[in-house]
């Protein structure tokens, strides 16, 4: 090339290269932002509170997991499974055959009907994974989904991620003049209010019984009321029953799927983690009619395909062992509930002794308590958070006791109703409860 042209070309090349380098330096392009479906879903109460509570000097009654060991036979089952070569490789996507067969046996007995292990059961990554599969498989953009407050916090973001609208309705405490003691049974739905929430857009209602955080066990009548509305409006029911075995004396867990007309329109969700005190195994399952489960299976095969094999084998063995003992005191499903009832009663007494008003749960392993009587002045913490968030943060810092704020489990409109409540988890060993007791007794010192 003639020199002049050559110089001209190379100048242009240098300029272009320079611009190219500049462009490369701009790392965060607007095209690499989040997809629309997860807009606004990044905040999460657990992410906020679990790392704080991980400090070993803090007495942690926050996140819901036991600090007592799982039963020995469950751990042994896992060790045995891992020793078998085949059980370290992929198993059936929708659920390890041994596990779905064991589930079919256990729940066949509970439901009083035959449950097809391959068509009516899906094994998922915890109860959480079942909720996700149900939402993604069955909830359409623009649908409405009714959620009862207070609710396990993931329901709302999952409904939103499916492009649907959460319709909230609160449980409210009915006045109980006879006694000051509030039970979770005193928290009820207003039938007219509930009926008003159902519209032509309602695809499903999510219920959680026993309820997290309140511990309410919905009665047959309450479930019938919900069932009647589901049938009348032709909606689905997603029933989160992960605490199904943790039922205290005088109460009965009822599966809404067993009410007439409900099997065909209900997905019932359970958890190995809550059943066997192994939350870190992250195994759960959905049970329902083939025409619904098949859609959850489609989601499963396009999201994570299969759950870990040795864990599924171990859960199967555990279920078979307890199936033989069902109805007897040795059955872990019953013995854990008995053990926890003692802890529940102890926790309630500790709180009452310091003048607080706990809501005595009928089931589950959480207790909500109204902290109003402690008269804790938190005005120094500003106005941008509900009282319970401030209270819990203050309590973790000043008292080294962790809980979870109950407004994490409700929508904006109900925050005022719940902001004086905190949630305590009592599936903890005696020494943890002793430590909590010591903190509470010394509150004012």
């Amino acid at each position: 090339l003639p020199m002049a042209q050559y110089l001209a070309c190379s100048r242009v090349t240098i300029l272009l290269s320079f611009q190219f380098i500049l462009c490369q330096g701009i790392m965060t392009s607007s095209r690499h932002t989040n997809s629309k479906r997860i807009e606004g879903l990044d905040k999460n109460v657990w992410v906020a509170f679990t790392s704080v509570a991980a400090d070993p000097t803090i007495v942690n009654l926050g996140q819901g997991f036991p600090d007592i060991p799982p039963p020995a036979y469950v751990k042994e089952g896992l060790a045995n499974a891992a020793a078998v070569d085949k059980l370290n490789q992929y198993t059936r996507g929708f659920g390890h055959p041994a596990l779905v067969k064991a589930l079919s046996q256990v729940y066949g007995k509970v439901y009083g009907q035959q449950i097809d292990p391959f068509k009516e059961i899906l094994v998922t990554v915890g109860g959480y994974g079942s909720l996700f599969s149900a939402m993604q498989g069955l909830v359409e953009v623009g649908d409405e989904v009714i959620i009862i407050e207070p609710f396990f916090d993931c329901y709302v973001p999952m409904v939103r991620m499916a492009g649907a609208k959460p319709i909230l309705i609160p449980l409210r405490v009915k006045c109980n003049k006879k006694t000051n003691i509030v039970s979770s049974a005193d928290w009820v739905l207003d039938p007219a209010e509930l009926a008003s929430k159902f519209t032509s857009k309602t695809k499903a209602i999510i219920i959680n019984t026993p309820n997290n955080p309140i511990g309410k066990i919905f009665t047959r009548d309450e479930l019938q009321m919900i069932a009647d509305l589901c049938i009348k409006h032709d909606t689905l029911c997603i029933s989160d029953e992960v605490y199904e075995w943790l039922i205290y004396k005088g109460h009965q867990h009822i599966k809404i799927a067993t009410l007439p007309g409900m099997w065909d329109r209900t997905i019932t969700i359970s958890s190995a983690g809550k059943t066997f005190s192994v939350t870190g195994w992250k195994l759960g399952w959905s049970i329902g009619p083939e025409h619904l489960i098949k859609h959850l299976q489609t989601v499963m095969q396009n999201t994570l395909y299969t759950c870990p094999t040795p864990l599924q084998e171990a859960v199967a063995q555990g279920l078979l062992r307890d199936y033989e003992l069902m109805g007897q005191p040795d059955c872990y499903f019953s013995s854990l509930a008995v053990e926890l009832e003692g802890k529940r009663d102890r926790m309630a007494a500790i709180l009452q002794d310091v003048g607080m008003s706990p809501i005595i749960p009928e089931g589950g392993y959480f207790m909500c308590v109204d902290v109003t009587s402690l008269n804790q002045d938190l005005s120094h913490m500003g106005d941008d958070e509900p009282y319970d968030y401030k209270f819990v943060k203050w309590m973790i810092k000043e008292k080294k006791l962790a809980a979870i704020p109950v407004t994490a489990f409700c929508g904006d409109a109900s925050k005022k109703q719940f902001e004086k409540y905190i949630r305590l988890c009592f599936i903890k060993k005696d020494s943890t409860l002793d430590a909590a007791e010591a903190i509470l007794k010394n509150w004012n010192s």
Partner: protein, 437 residues
């Protein structure tokens, strides 16, 4: 009792739920078929020598099994929730290990997400980044889940094929290449991401640096995210080098690299995977994860962490499983290739990975099975091979787009990550079949 009877009666006689709206969500339309569900069921139903689905039939290394046992018998915390985005010991060692490999300081808590297998990492990535109408480039043949995952995220898959450049009789996966013009033509303003898989499933191709540079240049030019599925990263043969596209200039900030504990440690049933990439992209994957599964199993993560710690200490030495496994597999690869050639099947020798594809064109069989009428030729062939010869493989047209699968119905995929005895049994079946002609 009576209520049981009533329940049964109601269950049998109640009509299937009829809703005025459709039951299922639109996002799962067209993604309900799945070759694994179909073919693993078949392999289970018949007594087969299974070279189909990709999992080892030998045990994981003893040190990793021990690590798992130790975790199981460890303290209470091993059986309860761990950190949602990844068990701290695991993300810490992954960051340490891969910082060395990628040549970039990886932040354990910002740049890594642990998932339920690499499969879930792929899901989180597509859900986090792909909007309705976005285009995602997929190189064919591809691991089959990319297409339905892109579809479920509302994206449009745009395909570009690897093509065999015939170089005499013995083809290797290195002979399957992209046309640079064709690849460039697939990028436009709607392109959100490109998915690459190296070593590739099913072909076994290990992309060379120059090939990755070509892709990287286009990603940078068009400001596209690169999703790099590297689950077979340690399994390369004949000295082929695995190159991480994230290590190329300008690529760390726009690449999500996906790995698998299952493939790394021959324990596919543990389902521990991960996505590694710049924090500003990973945070979106975390949002999907916290709203879908939230946590992964603790004990398995602990065991994989111990495995990586051990490999970090033995990296590059003869004790490294990452050197031992590919050495073992190289010999199996040769054994299977030789056998396939001897019976008239034409294998494509893979440079990496678990699999080998073979051209079945020259084999004529009477596929007399009415139940497979109308299916693609390779599907029919594979099913015939399962039912008539007791040998399981996977049809390769399953790894092609609906648009192009008709052009690739003459290959089947074999997994050679099997005990020698399994490979010998397969050999016997193939020889008998060949001799019987």
């Amino acid at each position: 009792n009576f209520s049981c009877y009533v329940n049964q009666y109601l269950k049998i006689h109640s009509s299937s739920l009829i809703m005025s709206r459709q039951l299922h969500a639109r996002r799962i339309e067209g993604v309900d078929k799945n070759i694994w569900v179909e073919f693993t069921q078949l392999a289970a139903d018949y007594q087969v020598v299974n070279l189909g689905q990709g999992f080892p039939d030998f045990s994981p290394p003893s040190y990793i099994q021990e690590a798992f046992c130790k975790a199981v018998n460890g303290g209470c915390s091993m059986h309860q929730y761990t950190r949602a985005f990844g068990h701290p010991p695991l993300v810490t060692i992954l960051a340490k290990f891969f910082s060395k490999v990628v040549g970039h300081d990886i932040d354990a808590f910002e740049d890594i997400l642990v998932t339920v297998g690499a499969y879930q990492a792929l899901f989180c990535t597509f859900q986090a980044l792909v909007n309705e109408g976005d285009e995602v480039i997929i190189i064919e043949p591809f691991f089959d889940c990319y297409q339905p995952m892109v579809k479920m995220a509302g994206g449009k898959a745009v395909y570009v094929p690897l093509r065999p450049v015939s170089r005499g009789k013995a083809l290797t996966s290195a002979d399957w290449v992209l046309s640079s013009e064709e690849l460039a033509s697939k990028f436009n303003s709607r392109t959100k991401a490109i998915v690459i898989n190296t070593p590739n499933n099913p072909l076994g191709k290990v992309y060379k640096r120059e090939e990755l540079q070509l892709i990287a240049d286009l990603c940078i030019k068009h400001d596209v995210v690169c999703i790099s599925d590297e689950v077979y990263e340690w399994l390369t043969y004949d000295g082929a080098k695995h190159v991480k596209i994230a290590s190329l200039p300008g690529m760390w900030e726009r690449t999500v690299t996906i790995g698998s504990g299952g493939k790394t440690f021959s324990a596919t049933g543990w389902k521990v995977g991960w996505a590694i990439g710049a924090g500003h992209i990973l945070k979106h994957l975390k949002t999907v994860h916290q709203n879908s599964v939230y946590h992964c199993a603790t004990a398995a993560q602990e065991a994989v962490a111990v495995g990586f710690q051990r490999e970090y200490e033995h990296f590059g030495t003869p004790e490294s499983y990452f050197l031992q496994l590919p050495e073992r597999l190289q010999h199996k690869r040769e054994k299977l290739a030789a056998c396939l050639e001897s019976v008239g099947l034409q294998p494509v020798l893979p440079e990496g990975g678990y699999f080998m594809i073979a051209d079945i064109s020259s084999v004529k069989v009477d596929l007399n099975d009415p139940s497979t009428q109308g299916e693609p030729y390779d599907y029919r062939f594979v099913k015939w091979l399962i039912k008539e010869k007791g040998l399981a493989t996977i049809p390769v047209s399953a790894f092609y787009s609906p648009e192009h699968s008709k052009d690739f119905e003459n290959y089947i995929r074999f997994c050679f990550v099997k005990e020698d005895s399994t490979l010998s049994s397969a050999e016997a079946i193939l020889r008998n079949w060949s001799n019987g002609k």
